[in-house]
Every structure is written in structure tokens, then in C-alpha cells.
Point group: C4
Chain length 210, copies 4
């Protein structure tokens, strides 16, 4: 049976690279020519791709956290899980492309639909990972409670639904569409979802936070 450890480490590597490659989408003028634009104008022209960089960075960060949480419960790995995990990595490593497209075609709703579609594909592949692994406790320990399984399923599904809502909104307002994606990290880091999972998984350890 495949050990999850090396699969996790490989996945972490791919996600870490994809999240860092996003910065290459921020163009820099050539050093060997006199720049065509004043720096002030250049930066104003870079604000939009900068927003896209931050947004994609945060979203990939959220997927990493969810992937982390999923593999926290998975105890062994089979052929199908490896394939679904590969699909997830394919989607995440693809994200820099739609991020670049929506920066270049900033007033085109098709660009936002493609961007949102890529985000939904990430979420759906994570959802498939989780549902496949937990159906009949296939690849998780017997003692993982149904509540934990349900909570995580809800959280990943909500992430996908937010992307879907953002796509739908893009036909009305591109600004509103972009704002909606912000709900994903807010949801991920809100108290009720994350903390309940982590404490559920580890018992009532010392939580010096409240």
C-alpha cells in the first residue's frame, strides 16, 4: 500500500511551486532598455495583475490548507486516490494561466469565467478526494466521526459554491465577482469551521487562544 507521506511531500512541492510561480505573472520592464513608461504609470498598470496575484495566492493557500486537512485523516492511499490527487495538482499548477488571462483581458467576462472555472476545478477535485477517501471509511481510520466527515464535506462544497457564485456574478459586475472570491479565505479561517475540525481531530488540547 502506498504510503501517504511521500505523496503528501510531492503534492506540497507542486503546490508551493505553483503558488510561487504566480509572481512571474507580474511583468517587469527590461533592464537593457530605457523603460517606455514612467514608473508611476507602470505601477498603476500593474495594480490589476497585482490583485490577481494576491487573489490566486490566497486561493491556492486555502486549497493547500484543505489538502492538508484531508491528508490529516487519510491513513493509506490507493490507485484511484493517486489519480484524483494528480487531477488536483494539475488544476492547481494550471492556475497561473487563467490568472494571467484575467489580468490581460480585465474587462472580458469570459476571462473571469475561465478563472472561476479553474478555481471550481480545484475545489471539485478536493471534494472528490475527500468523498472517495471517506465513503465507507475507505481510506481513513474507522474512528473518524461522521460529524468531522460532514463538516469537511460542507466546507469544501461551500468553497466550490462561492466560486460558482463568483462566476455567475461576473455577468453582472466584474468587480463584485472579484470581491466574492474573498469570501473563500474568510470562510476558511473563520472560527466555526477550522477550529472545530482541528480540535475534533486532536482532542481537547490546550487552546490558549480564547
Amino acid at each position: 500500500m502506498f504510503k501517504p507521506d511521500r505523496l503528501c511531500a510531492f503534492s506540497d512541492g507542486v503546490v508551493a511551486i505553483a503558488i510561487t510561480l504566480l509572481v512571474l505573472g507580474l511583468e517587469v520592464p527590461s533592464v537593457h532598455k530605457v523603460p517606455e513608461q514612467q514608473l508611476r504609470d507602470y505601477i498603476l498598470g500593474s495594480l490589476h495583475p497585482l490583485l490577481g496575484f494576491v487573489c490566486s495566492f490566497v486561493l491556492i493557500g486555502v486549497y493547500w490548507l484543505q489538502h492538508y486537512a484531508i491528508f490529516h485523516y487519510i491513513t493509506h492511499v490507493d490507485r484511484v486516490l493517486v489519480a484524483i490527487n494528480g487531477l488536483f495538482l494539475l488544476c492547481v499548477s494550471f492556475v497561473p494561466f487563467p490568472t494571467g488571462l484575467q489580468a490581460a483581458y480585465r474587462d472580458d467576462e469570459l476571462a473571469m469565467v475561465i478563472y472561476g472555472g479553474a478555481q471550481m476545478a480545484c475545489s471539485f477535485s478536493l471534494l472528490a478526494l475527500w468523498v472517495y477517501a471517506t465513503r465507507n471509511h475507505r481510506l481513513v481510520a474507522r474512528n473518524v466521526s461522521p460529524k468531522v466527515i460532514r463538516n469537511m464535506t460542507t466546507q469544501i462544497t461551500l468553497t466550490a459554491l462561492i466560486s460558482a457564485t463568483a462566476i455567475a456574478t461576473s455577468f453582472i459586475s466584474l468587480t463584485a465577482c472579484r470581491a466574492i472570491f474573498l469570501a473563500i479565505p474568510v470562510l476558511q479561517l473563520s472560527r466555526h469551521t477550522t477550529d472545530s475540525e482541528w480540535s475534533e481531530a486532536n482532542g481537547k488540547q490546550h487552546d490558549s487562544e480564547a
Copy 2:
């Protein structure tokens, strides 16, 4: 004696980077100019490199799985194995170049021959790794059964043969040639090869899959 652990981790790093760098082959128009093409036309022009991206991603993923399986059995490492492993990493990290060539020269069969040749080089270096390590149980545990060794040899050889077939087909039809590469992940993830290996290697553990 060299520990396989750090060699594995380094190899994983190189493969993870190579697989993620593929996305840089998907060009994005500059943010600081009005794009020359409509987005719809731009995407149509990107479909072909997109297919190449997915294909190379999946193939490198398969090589990683085979590399993973090979090092599952290897217990120690010598100078020759390090050299062959380096050759494998060289081939894998080279893949983005022929991937880009076949996207730019999409109607040129020479581009497909080079692409297929790079894939064959990956497979042959993996085959060399495996044959070198298992000849007289040189670098694997004594109790690895001849059946496991034969199965793995067959699987890697088949992968190389599929690439060879794809190259040969490129002289007849480039579309057929591309379709043939798809047989590689299908073969890798089919029940009879992967599962028999993994269960062979780990005894008859709980397999809640069927």
C-alpha cells in the same frame, strides 16, 4: 553507503518543479499592452499548447509514480545508481522544451518525434534504474520476489514501447500519435499492474476498495 532518503527527496523536488514549470509554456499576453487578439481567438490558439501541457503533466506524473515504486524496493544506493538517477532527472527536467516545440510546430512530425524521444528517454532511464538495482538483487532486499521484479520491468518497458509506437505513428497521423500517449496513464492506473505491485509489496493489507 548513500542513504536513499535524501536522494529520493531531491528527485521529488526536481520532478515537482519540472511538472509545475510546464505551465510557463502557456503564454499570456502582456498586461501593459492592449492585447492583439480577442480573448476567444487567443484561447482557441492556446488549445493546442494546453493539450501538450496536460499530456506532459500526466506523463511526468506517471514517471514519478514509477520512480516512487522503484525506490520503494531499493534499500541502498551506489555510485552507478546515482548516475542513472541523475540521467532520469535530466530527461524529466528537459521535457518542457520538447513540449514547447511540439506546441509551436504543431504540424511538424519532427517535433513529435523529438517529443516522443524525450518521453522514451525518461522511460529508458527508469528501466535502467530498475534493471541495475535488481540484477542479482544488487540494491534491493533479498526477499523481493522475482515476480515483482518481472512485473515492474514489464510495466516500465510497456511505457517505453507505447512512446515508441506513438513516434512511429506520427509519420502517419499526428492526432493518432497524440492519442497513443494516453495509453500510458491508462496502463499505469489499470488494476492489474499497480494494485498487484502494491499489495505484493505490503502483504494482504485491508483493501476496502472492491
Copy 3:
């Protein structure tokens, strides 16, 4: 409770990639055209981005060391720490962009202000990590002495102050501004800060250095 291990490994990955991507800011002429400039002129034109490459490399290296030291003390991780750590990774992976800008707009003080601002953001996110984790020993062991906490706080704050001083100096002299950043690695590697921390943390182990 989130284990710090995988968060550390992921952070290391992102920082290692960001530090290595800096080299892509050093442009190379196309191989497929006769170069426009003589090599000697080309290299003279590359000296400035080269300095920026070395400076950003060293600064990111210092942040990595500080991140390493911080996580040396952290025993568990909560939702807020994950968010602050994400902010740190965002800042670090952003550094190649201002590095490129200050190379292209080398006589523009705004470029240095942005560059210094990015460096300050890295330092402040590290400071936030440390203060959040150590406030009431929230995420560190009870036996971490107040002196260690104070020392580390001082060191990270000093790093941020040096960046602030460099920014202020950029309005007087860009050369002086650049020289001031050099104080950051010098401070980090000076005896009194680093060594006291490390020996504090590990007891009086054999120190065959003096």
C-alpha cells in the same frame, strides 16, 4: 491541532523557490538572434540587476533564518498563525517583482521605496508571527525564557527598522539607501544576536568555535 512540521516544510518550499526565482530577473539575450550589444556592454548593463539579485537573495535568506528560529520555539499552530504565516509567504514570494522594478528604474526613488516597503512587510509579518505566538506563551513552550522572547523581538524589529531607515535614506541618496540594507545580514550574523539565541535554546552544548 495543526502540526508545525508540514507548515514548516511548505514554508521552506515557498521561500526556497522565491529565493531561486530571483535569477530569472537577470535577463539573457536570445540565442536565436545575433546579440545587439557587445558582451562587455551587456554585462555592464547587468551589474545593477546583479546587485539587486544578491541583495534580495541575502535578505530572503535572513528572513528564512528568522522564520527558522521562530518555528524552533513554536510547539503548535492555530488558525491565526497559519494566516500570519501565509501573509509572510505572500510578502516573500512577492519580492522578485520590486527587485525587478528597482533594477529597471534604477534612478527612481519611488522604486526604492517600493522595494524597501516589500522588505518591511516581510519583517513586520515575521514580527507579527513572533509576537502572536509568544504573547502569554500562546503557542510556545512554557519554559521559553522572557529573555529569549525579548531578544528575538528586538532582532526582528531591528531588521524592520533598518529597512525603514533605508527607505528614508532613498530620498537623499540611492547609493546610501542600498548600502544600508547590507546592515541586515551583518546584524543577523553578528555574534551577539544569533549565537546567544541558539545556545539559549539548546543549553550550553559543545561550542568548539571560540
Copy 4:
């Protein structure tokens, strides 16, 4: 005292990324334009950067092996070692730049001098690492034999000398200069150096190689 483990892992990450980024030096024509050259001509024009890619890949691979061997003996880490290790990583991550220069300015001996200089810098930083760590057994175990220390010193010095010889030869013949670099991997993988080290370090373990 700093643990070598995480420093090793970080260094591996940087080296793995630098070695894989080399492929980005192999240019690919844009997908969205009809290529200017026939594929055959394009590939002929790519042969020279291809050679540079393979050469730099192999050399960085050798430095990684030497770094691996050095850290095999190092038991703890101090402030100075961290600084020298940082210098080594800076040199390695810089290699793609001179690799690109010598590909673009292929008939210019200055380009080869810079290329060779970068290789020598890598070797000298490794030599500094080793000499600093082993002087009076500062950072290695007491029982590391003087013979092991001497052997490794010789090997790293030889690598640096080969680079120096290649630089000197570049003034006579650029082809001869390039051929000389090939002596580095041959030396590294020859029986007398590597194997003696590894078996020395691990006792006379089963060596089913002869």
C-alpha cells in the same frame, strides 16, 4: 544549536530548483505566431544552449553530491557555516545566468571565463564549507578519520582546479574548454574517490557491486 536537517532540506530545495530552472534557458518560439524558422534550423540553433543546459545540469548535480557528502559528516551547525552555506546557494542559484550568457555569446571567451568563474565560485564555497567544518573537527564527529577529511578536500579542490584549467584553456580553444568541464562528473563518479568515501563512512557494509 542549529539542526543540520532543516538547513539541508532548504539547501536541497534551492539546488533542485536551480537545476530545473536551467531548462527555461532553452527558448521556445511563441505559439501565437507562425514560427520564423523551420524546425530543423531552429533545433540546429538550439544545439549550443542544449549543450550548456546539459553541462550546467551535470555540474550542479556534482555540487549537490559533494554538498550531500559534506553534510553527511557535519553533526551541528553554527553561524559561520550558515553564512558559507548561503554563499554556496547564492553561487548555485546564479548558474543559470552565465549558462545563458555563454549560449548567447558562444564565440566570446569572456562568456566562458564568466561561466567558469561561476563554477569555481561554487567549488570554492563548498571547499570553504568543508575546511571550516573539519578544522579541528569543529563541526564534525571526533571519529571522522584524517584520511576521509583529506580525501574530500582533495576531491573538491580538484573540481575547482578543473574549472580553473577550463578557464585558462578558453583563451586557446573554446571547444577544448568545454570538453574539460566533462572531467568534473567523470572524476566525481570514478571508483577511487566516491566509493572510498562512502564505504569509509559506513564501515564495510555489503557491497554487491564488484
